[in-house]
Amino acid sequence: MKPERPSAVIISEKDNVATALRTLQAGEKVRLARGELELEVKLTEGVIPGHKFAISKIARGEHIIKFGEVIGAATADIRVGAHVHTHNVASLHGRVDQKPTQASQSA
């Protein structure tokens, strides 16, 4: 039997986001696996391929983890299944000693 083609990929077990491999609709339930980790996430909004969504709750100021590494910080509280992108994430590059929430407020 041909295995089910995954809808999204989690790269590291430390990650709190997954990357969509196809267009995902709001309300759609997506099954995900990475090592020991197996979970089902209900999308709260539509996500197109290559874009990320939260697989756990991320509070404002918390790090976004992809590849097992920090790729930025949340500028707003992010719900499970929500699109994670420039509207709710800021880069930490160049201001690693500064809280991202302050940066986003001043922006």
Partner: protein
């Protein structure tokens, strides 16, 4: 055979080769024809060398050829010069001999012309061949130094092949091996990550500066805007510069950065090393070549390079073979004759990262033990001709990022 060992050719300096070549090394393009003729007449013969006459004046130039000659995939070397070039064949041979292997010197002017030089070089190569091991013996994988490089990347590269290779890199380093990377302009925007992973703050500062210098050099030559976040990146789903850079950086895994190597310099300890690509690129004809890093890695002692691609690539390396890991399952099917490993199976649900990493590691060990890569079977022999020192003012003929 247990996975923590591989079968290779032991060299006098204790390094272990994955291949058993006799290198015919020319110190100027005027000696290339003769070298290629010699290589074609000797079992395991490969011809490589330096193109330009006037550029081979700096120590780094000699170091690069010495580094290639010292590579454990090379059993012995014949260094061929015309006889009046600026580079010194005897200096190259002397450097190679320091590793304990044999290296003969020949000049075309000294040996009496084309035919006579070819004959004498073939004779010398065959004599040296009698002294080199023909049997592979078992060695710890800590003896492996592996280059990592990506080319022809697409959106899948960062989602399958690069993180997968990172897992293999971690396992190799934990077993005492080394990895070499370069691609400094692609690290722009994640200097802070490099600093965090550097063994000393000083190393982190040096690499950060080098990334900045590489971006400036690149922009001077090719114009700006190649290395930052573009609207296309953002539309494609990349949120921050860290995320973009990590897509390439993730193939180095998660271990500490041990040092920065100059071309021809070998790692001194196990772990991750960056080859100074700015020096290397200026040595090697900046912008005149597509994928020169595998040659830099070979000059740093790498027996093999793992090459990740999404769109596909059709190249090889004359000294250290490329093991092609394809991130995109469609590309893998389309270019199977060039691809060694299908990391895209992860994206199709046919495999997991953990299972794939085990398979790729086994594939690496098999390749190090003599299994030929697709590019070797196809006869690819890229990377052997080092153009040398193209000045900054000279326009680039072509560029392929």
């Amino acid at each position: 055979m247990p996975e923590e060992t591989f079968l290779g050719y032991e060299r006098p300096d204790g390094r272990v080769g994955a291949r058993n070549h006799v290198a015919i090394i020319y110190t100027v393009d005027c000696a290339r024809f003769v070298s290629e003729q010699v290589a074609s007449k000797v079992r395991g013969g490969i011809a490589l060398g330096w193109f330009s006459c006037y550029s081979m004046l700096k120590n780094e130039d000699t170091d690069m050829l010495v580094g290639l000659g010292r590579n454990p995939n090379v059993a012995a070397a014949v260094v061929v010069g015309l006889g009046c070039e600026t580079g010194s064949p005897s200096k190259v041979a002397e450097g190679i001999r320091k590793s304990g292997k044999e290296a003969e010197v020949m000049t075309i002017q000294g040996a009496g012309g084309t035919r006579s030089t070819i004959e004498k070089c073939v004779e010398a190569a065959k004599r040296m061949q009698k002294g080199i091991p023909l049997e592979r013996t078992q060695h710890a994988i800590s003896k492996l130094t592996i280059g990592l490089k990506c080319g022809g990347s697409d959106a899948t590269s960062a989602l399958s092949a690069n993180p997968l290779v990172g897992m293999v890199a971690d396992r190799l380093i934990d077993a005492g091996g080394s990895i070499l990377t370069s691609e400094l302009t692609e690290l722009a925007g994640c200097e802070h990550l490099i600093r965090e992973r550097s063994v000393t703050p000083e190393l982190g500062r040096r690499v950060s500066k080098l990334i900045g210098d590489s971006v400036s050099e690149f922009e001077t030559r090719f114009g700006s805007g190649h290395t930052m976040m573009s609207p296309g990146n953002v539309n494609g789903g990349l949120t921050t510069i860290e995320e973009k850079s990590l897509g390439a950086l993730t193939k180095t895994g998660h271990r500490k950065l041990q040092g920065l190597l100059q071309p021809g310099e070998y790692p001194k300890r196990p772990g991750w090393y960056i080859v100074d690509g700015l020096v290397a690129k200026n040595l090697r004809h900046y912008g005149f070549e597509a994928d020169g890093e595998p040659t830099d890695f070979a000059a740093g002692g790498a027996q093999l390079t793992i090459f990740t691609t999404g769109r596909g690539s059709a190249n090889g390396n004359i000294v250290a073979p490329l093991l092609k890991v394809c991130a995109n399952p469609q590309t893998y099917r389309n270019m199977k004759e060039d691809m060694d490993f299908n990391a895209g199976a992860i994206l199709e649900g046919e495999d997991t990262f953990d299972r794939s990493a085990k398979k790729l590691f086994s594939s690496l060990v098999r390749t190090a033990s003599g299994a030929r890569t697709k590019s070797e079977r196809l006869g690819h022999q890229e990377g052997g001709q080092i153009i040398g020192g193209v000045p900054l003012s000279r326009p680039a003929l072509e560029f392929c990022p």
